[in-house]
């Protein structure tokens, strides 16, 4: 149904959490999943797990904040496979703290990884997608980027930025048949949300109409849809996947 056989998919931060679920899902659809991540052990483990299941994945240890290194890597991937079809900008971090006490370095780090990393990878892949006249970019934002969150000003700003970046990129690339969309997950069970305080988790769980946290697989399913031709008339959008938390 989704017809992603032999598609070349790059997933940043694809070795763990939501990213790994996305990597895995694409591989199961017959795509070749390429993981970009900073954690070599996690990359090895992720690739092995997908490989053992009989699907295809490979990984590169790289830093999305390094514009030059990312450009080189996309060039290498393009040379190797002769195309790149799909980019999922998923790499992201949190460094929480109330704004009044937020360290400048924590602000910079989160903006740099989450927002600049998305810019770097989007720019790096753009020349290949433009040339191909075909391709899909999916940016993993967050509902925090829409509704804000006390203690996460840096993260919220980075994710809100990603949503705006998505819209601008969608407008720039639409003439070349390249679609760009964002996914805004709500509270998803991962190591990142494990770091949240019980109070925050409790208060939001109560507010979720479907009264449960989401699973990484829920996000991966949406990714597959947005990457496939089933969503060929959707671009520039941010789709919330949050159990109805914000409507």
């Amino acid at each position: 149904m989704y017809n992603l056989e032999d598609k070349i998919v790059v997933v940043t931060g694809g070795a763990r959490g939501i990213g790994f679920s996305i990597t895995q899902k694409f591989a199961k659809q017959g795509a070749i999943s390429i993981i970009l991540d900073l954690d070599q052990d996690a990359i090895d483990k992720a690739v092995k797990e997908i490989d053992d299941a009989g699907y295809r994945a490979l990984g590169y240890n790289t830093d999305v904040t390094n514009n030059k290194a990312i450009k080189k890597l996309f060039n290498k991937i393009y040379d190797e496979f002769g195309k790149i079809d799909i980019l999922v900008n998923n790499a992201g971090i949190t460094k929480d703290g109330l704004l009044m006490k937020m360290k400048e370095e924590d602000w910079d780090k989160v903006i740099t990884v989450n927002l600049k990393g998305t810019y770097n990878c989007t720019q790096a892949i753009s020349r290949y997608l433009l040339k191909q006249r075909e391709g899909v970019i999916i940016n993993i934002a967050s509902i925090i980027g829409i509704m804000g969150n006390a203690g996460q000003a840096n993260y919220a700003a980075s994710k809100g930025g990603i949503i705006a970046l998505t819209k601008s990129t969608a407008k720039e690339f639409a003439a070349r048949n390249i679609r760009v969309n964002s996914i805004a997950p709500g509270f998803i069970k991962t190591k990142m949300t494990d770091k949240l305080s019980d109070e925050i988790i409790d208060s939001y769980s109560k507010a979720i109409p479907l009264s449960r946290m989401g699973l990484p697989e829920d996000v991966a399913n949406l990714c597959i849809f947005l990457a496939s031709d089933q969503s060929s008339y959707i671009t520039g959008q941010t789709i919330n996947i949050d159990g109805g938390l914000i409507m």
Binding site: R127, L130, K131, E172, F173, A175, R176
Partner: protein
Amino acid sequence: MNIEQKVKEIIVEELGVEESEVTNEANFIEDLGADSLDTVELIMCFEEEFDIEIPDEEAENLVTVAKAIEFLKSELD
């Protein structure tokens, strides 16, 4: 192959136009049907082919085939 020929070859390839259309006076946007993305791609191709960097201020001026050839010749001499 000289610079002029190479430039014209790149333009034919990138913009998908006929060789006969790529006259020296031809304006990329008005005559050869390029849009703003095409012009950026074209500049990137020149940069790659001739292994140079074309600053944005310069790139803005390269609106015709002749201007591109003239600029690249002066850069590469």
